[in-house]
Amino acid sequence: MDLQTKLRQEARKLLEEKLVDVVIGYEDEGAPLRTTPCFITDPQDVDRLVWNPFCDHNLARYLTARKDKAAVVAKGCDTRAIVVLINENQIERKNVNILGMPCGGIVDRKKIYNHLKNGDVREAVLKDKVITVKGLEFTADLMVDDFLADCCLSCRHRNPVLCDVQIGENLPPLDVKDEYKKIKQLEESTSEERWEYFRKTLSKCIRCYACREACPLCYCQQCFTDQNFPAWVGKTTDISDTIVFHIMRAFHTTGRCVDCGACERSCPNNVDIRMLTKKIAKDVKELFGDEAGLQLEEKAPLSFYNEDDPQDFIK
Amino acid sequence: MKNAASKYWRIPLDADRVKTPKGKIHILKERCKGCGFCIEYCPRDVLEFSDEFNEKAYHPPRVKDEKLCLCCHLCELVCPEYAIWSTEEKDEELHHP
């Protein structure tokens, strides 16, 4: 039985037995190369649920605002986000039923558009690992694995770290090479080059806050950008304001970011948001040996004191 | 020395002057039904199962290191078959605990 069928079965069971009020999953509304989140409350609707490499949203994002009991379809990275949310008191473990999906990586649409020289994809059919895309003037067969999102290429937690039901067998760990290749390049460049890089990529930002809203961990009731007493950051798209927004957001994810890539995928203007968050995640891992969202009741690395902490900077 | 936490590594300097009872263990192998209580409960870990079989085809206990026995009689108390007991050696032999 394929995973999608299993998923639907499990969802039907949960709804029929009234174990959950809603199943949050993905459905296909016909748009090529993408799925859309869906909220299923009626067992008869479970066949809307799909599971494919276009299921790119981090649905943990929808859990924080809910008061009811929800089942959520979650990939490895999504389960890590859920773990962080539980650790940060944002969801109660008993209120969430995790349908864990071992995930071989999701497709980055933008990579396909790029490959097709910004070709307008009007139809896409997935069969096994081949996507047949059609536009007005072209047809092409593309391999899923050639268009995986960057965060999936360096994924170390493809299987759920926490779940109530796991749909399908564990996947073997990915042979990750050069996880920090881009980061290292940036680290090795001069400060002028780095500044120019950040200026260039962040100047594309239009402050629509899609990155913030797509991030499961940006759950603050009022974001620092929205505060005006004191006003932490200007509201314009001046590069100084935009940089403050992105750097502060990255700081706020320190030791928490699970590198699901939702921020970067949601950006309408292709800002390299992960460059900041991934760099911080790298630092946290190197300094504190910590990766976010792997264990319940784990404290964030910057929230407790450990005698073994590297403390040269204090001396 | 039991529970000699790593803090104290030295054989105590008065060890040769300390007297502790020395037990002798007697086992009636044929009575034994191999329940292992004596082995399990011995606080000094003196006993172990032997490889041999008795008439009933059980492995009776045997003494690992008789010097460890302090003659507390617990093996006697727990043996359901009255197959084991200890007596205190009266020769006042000194030994290191």
């Binding site: 509304e29 748009a31 090529p32 993408r34 799925t35 859309t36 989140p37 869906c38 909220f39 949203h57 994002r61 929808y62 933008k110 558009y113 790029n114 910004n118 307008d120 994809v121 009007r122 007005l136 594309k204 239009i206 402050r207 629509c208 806050y209 899609a210 913030r212 809203e213 797509a214 009022q222 929205d226 005006n228 200007g234 509201k235 314009t236 798209t237 001046d238 939702a262 995928r265 949601s266 309408p268 203007n269 292709n270 | -």
Partner: protein, 351 residues
């Protein structure tokens, strides 16, 4: 509201130039005008930018990522600056060097006429907008390759619409043709050196290309009864479900050519400061948050309803037109794949 002046038919002569000479046209215009046109920002993003020489323009594009509204109603615009604590010193608005926007799509051109209704209406005149609008001549470029989510047809615009522009342009394959629509447009067109008169067959060719382009607009939506329908379903349970997946980000509103809500903030340091107008979005909770902490649009439900109601009902009630031009940007860029057309269809299907 602006009314389009007519031009005499004798002036309405189509001009043409070979594709490889188009840069000379731009280079000529750049000498006299500030020219804005589509510029490649990165592999996927084409946007309007100031062009310093003709080679920078990127005319082979489907549509710009961001709409043309930002050239008239910038995302952040200083309204005035002040110093001292007594009275604000407002500097006078002076028109800059005349501007040409070269290569705007007809959908974006249409959006300007909708924005005119808001910023240059009988009751309210926004000087910041008007000064830019009056100072600008628009060259639209017909859209030969509508994208999969375009539905301009349904709004009565179409990829070859000649409305709301000064000069209409189209790509004939090896040449561009120019058609003056307004006297101002004709005036500029006449001054451009190197343009030839269009060939007699060009009008026919244009017509064929037009129907070809129109046939490629794949998506359609029935908007006929939408305003009345919306008026009846304000309290419909439909809204409880529709907003669930919406993240509440501002992409759809920021990328919408017609969305025009803004916030005004002061930036001050010591006794120097400025008052800025910035884009705002009805998707944000802070949009209606009151100082008391009360929020009349407390959840995503009210906010999403507001967005649809405003575009398809309130705007119609106020200005007689739907505030949508069918550019499809909100659908293309929605991070969770919300589809405006599908939403409208769902509303149409409601009992």
């Amino acid at each position: 509201m602006r009314t389009t002046p007519r031009i005499l038919s004798s002036e309405k002569i189509m001009k043409t130039i070979k594709k490889d000479k188009i840069n000379t046209v731009l280079d000529f215009l750049i000498k006299k005008y500030q020219v804005f046109g589509p510029v490649q920002k990165d592999d996927l993003v084409v946007d309007f930018g100031r062009i310093q020489n003709g080679a920078q323009a990127c005319l082979e594009f489907s549509n710009t990522n961001e709409p043309a509204k930002k050239l008239f109603f910038p995302q952040a615009e200083t309204l005035f600056s002040y110093t001292g604590s007594d009275a604000a010193q407002v500097s006078e608005l002076k028109p800059e060097k005349p501007r040409i926007i070269f290569g705007m799509r007809p959908c974006d051109a249409k959006s300007l006429s909708l924005l005119d209704a808001v910023f240059d209406g009988p009751d309210y005149k926004d000087p910041y907008y008007i000064v830019k609008r009056k100072n600008t001549t628009i060259f639209t470029l017909a859209c030969r390759r509508p994208r999969s989510n375009c539905f301009c047809d349904s709004l009565g615009i179409g990829p070859f619409s000649k409305k709301d522009t000064d000069v209409f342009m189209a790509d004939l394959g090896d040449r561009y043709v120019f058609e003056p629509i307004t006297p101002g447009g004709a005036d500029i067109l006449n001054k451009i050196p190197g343009l030839e008169n269009a060939r007699p067959t060009d009008a026919e060719r244009l017509k064929n290309l037009r129907s070809e382009a129109e046939s490629k607009v794949a998506r359609k939506v029935d908007l006929d009864n939408l305003p009345e329908k919306l008026a009846r379903i304000f309290d419909h349970p439909f809204w409880d479900g529709i907003h669930q997946k919406c993240l509440g980000c501002g992409i759809c509103t920021y990328l919408c050519p017609t969305c025009h809500c803004f916030d005004i903030v002061d930036e001050q340091k010591d006794d120097k400061g400025r008052r800025i107008r910035i884009w705002d979005s009805c998707s944000y909770p802070t949009f209606t948050l009151e100082a008391s902490g009360h929020n009349p649009r407390a959840t995503g439900k009210e906010r999403m309803r507001q967005r649809l109601m405003h575009k398809f009902r309130y705007f119609v009630e106020n200005y007689g037109e739907i505030a949508c031009v069918g550019c499809g940007r909100c659908i293309n860029h929605c991070p969770v794949g919300s589809d405006l057309i599908r939403e409208i269809e769902n509303i149409n299907n409601l009992k």
